[in-house]
């Protein structure tokens, strides 16, 4: 099975690669449109600033390549945000797979710190991506921006308000959290995603 990871200078992907290797998959890191198109599934990671990472994608026209993919695609963290329509971070137009706009968390007390960093419980789970999980399984998040709850939400988490921990539309899945850093629950999600592509 061929798993491609989109290469576009968006942070440390060592953990994503390691997580796939632990599932017996040897991923290919590539920015080549043809190789991405012919992979069985594509992982679209992301860390850092939405504006900077989106600019990186546009420069190499990878935004169009990603939008046109037809096999299962998994966006992770900023990857999820970039698959949305727009991000408040740097007032950035994004890839637009999910017709929803990414907002910045607005804390209403000192207890609510930004970035939201740590383990949070998932609930209202649907979609095969969440197969085998129980409501209130915890996953690991690091983020200051979020996608609101919308018709494409397949898992919610609460921080300041409920938001989309995970999204799904057609062949596109995405998680705001880091499955590669989310212990056994994260491993289950990665395994579920690979199953979607088999």
């Amino acid at each position: 099975m061929e798993v491609a990871i989109v290469k576009y200078n968006a942070g440390n992907i060592f953990s994503v690669i390691s997580a796939l290797k632990r599932q017996g998959v040897e991923p290919e890191l590539t920015d080549d449109a043809e190789r991405l198109a012919k992979a069985d599934c594509v992982i679209f990671p992301g860390q850092g600033n939405a504006r900077t990472t989106m600019d990186n994608l546009r420069r190499s026209r990878l935004d169009e390549v990603i939008r046109s993919l037809t096999q299962p695609v998994l966006g992770i963290c900023v990857g999820q945000q970039l698959l949305c329509r727009h991000s408040e971070e740097g007032d950035t137009d994004c890839i637009g797979v999910f017709p929803v706009d990414v907002k910045r968390f607005r804390p209403d007390s000192l207890e609510q710190k930004i970035p939201a960093m740590g383990w949070n419980a998932l609930y209202d789970l649907s979609s095969p991506l969440m197969h085998g999980l129980s409501a209130d399984d915890y996953v690991y998040f690091v983020h200051s921006y979020y996608a609101p709850v919308c018709p494409f939400t397949i898992a919610k988490a609460d921080y300041i308000q409920p938001y989309s921990a995970s999204l799904h539309k057609d062949n596109f899945w995405a998680t705001q959290f880091h499955p590669e850093k989310s212990g056994k629950v994260g491993e289950q999600i990665i395994s579920n995603f690979l199953t979607l592509a088999r």
């Binding site: 440390n12 953990s15 632990r22 710190k113 740590g118 949070n120 609930y123 690091v142 212990g183």
Partner: protein, 255 residues
């Protein structure tokens, strides 16, 4: 039923020297405790939320060994981990993040070169930058120490904590030298003040001896995470049992 919102984190800390974990009592008398990767895996399986590896090796050779260990840990462990020790400049940060670390922890280097915090935050984001602060309460109040607690400074704890947060540190790892190794509980008053004053998460360190200390550090000290070493390494506290206890006490923890 889990609580909603971010869970309080339990963080075992592993001091690493020449590829082996050790733990000091009051910063001296190092004791041998095990293999970092094996120990890290065991902690991850036991329900630790995060791991901290501190390199206490001084030599260049030891530094290479530590970087190799970071890569091994990152390959085999599926929870976040922070590395610290021996970080003097941005190139050290680059090296450790490329080796697979999720976050790096600065201590003396931040005091010697505060702009290093700004540089790390600008290059990688605040979330990778943990600022460790060792402080001791004496007649003058709380003051910061450098070099593993050996060198006193004139920096007041609360001012310094503010400054590192302003410069872009994403978390503060506060160790009370008065409480470290004594196992009589965390520095609750100082922690509560930090939690109230400083707009970034606080990791409490120093003083864990029994389960009640962890409850208190979250409910009274308002810490976001609690770090400990020997009580975990020597099996005095089992992490899974600790988290069940905390859940029963009304603390939001990941089970």
């Amino acid at each position: 039923m889990a609580n909603r919102g971010l869970a309080k984190r339990i963080v075992p800390c592993l001091d690493v020297k020449d590829g082996q974990t050790v733990k000091g009592t009051n910063f001296v008398n190092l004791r041998q405790a095990g293999d970092p990767v094996e120990l890290g895996k065991a902690y991850s399986d036991a329900g630790a939320d995060e791991l901290v590896f501190l390199d206490i090796t001084a030599s260049l050779e030891g530094r290479r060994t530590f970087t190799d260990m970071v890569t091994k840990v990152a390959s085999e462990i599926n929870i976040p981990f922070t590395v610290g020790g021996g970080i003097h400049e941005l190139s050290d940060v680059d090296r450790l993040l490329y080796a697979g670390a999720d976050k790096i922890s600065l201590n003396s280097a931040a005091i010697k070169t505060p702009s290093l915090i700004d540089e790390i935050a600008a290059k990688y984001g605040s979330q990778v930058c943990v600022c460790a602060i060792d402080a001791r309460l004496d007649d003058r109040g709380w003051y910061c120490y450098m070099n593993g607690g050996h060198t006193p400074t004139d920096l007041p704890l609360f001012e310094w904590a503010h400054e590192v947060a302003d410069r872009g540190a994403g978390e503060i790892l506060f160790t009370s030298m008065n409480h470290d190794g004594v196992k009589q509980g965390f520095a609750l008053e100082a922690l509560a003040r930090l939690a109230e004053d400083v707009p970034v998460p606080i990791i409490a360190s120093g003083g864990a001896g029994k389960k009640e200390h962890f409850r208190d550090v979250f409910t009274l000290g308002h810490a976001d995470a609690a770090l400990a070493a020997s009580v975990f390494h020597f099996g005095e506290i089992n992490i899974r049992e600790l988290k069940k206890y905390l859940r029963n006490e009304g603390v939001n923890v990941r089970l």
